[in-house]
Symmetry: C2
Subunit: 75 residues, 2 copies
């Protein structure tokens, strides 16, 4: 696991309008954020590799990866 | 912004197989993770509010919210 900071994830939930949040809810969002990041990251790596075997992942790889993953999801 | 840790986000990219990553790429993934979390969080708040005006966001609210947002995306 990537150890995202509990306080930061909880703050995102409070900023989204949550009056109170259970600990389990914070850990669940943390888990989902990591899964999402892993998905975007691995797609980014594939995009970079397919661009002439480039070994450095660039901003545009991440951006394009997210667009592919989101599909109709607008973040 | 939520200030996710740079080193942690970079590590997720390295774990996904990236040999090298540009700084901009790390910041882009960080930005996307925050947007994703805000989206899941705000949907979670709505789900909790619709469940008899519950004021505490629970784990299941987050889980259901993510399912609604992902649609066909399997994380």
């Amino acid at each position: 696991m990537a150890d995202l900071p509990y306080a930061t994830v909880r703050r995102i939930m409070k900023n989204a309008g949550a009056k109170r949040v259970s600990k389990d809810a914070v850990y669940e969002l943390m888990r989902l954020m990591e899964l999402y990041a892993e998905k975007v990251a691995s797609t980014s790596v594939s995009i970079a590799e397919n661009a002439g075997s480039r070994t450095t992942v660039m901003k545009d790889d991440v951006r394009i990866s997210a667009e592919e993953i989101h599909g109709v999801i607008s973040l």
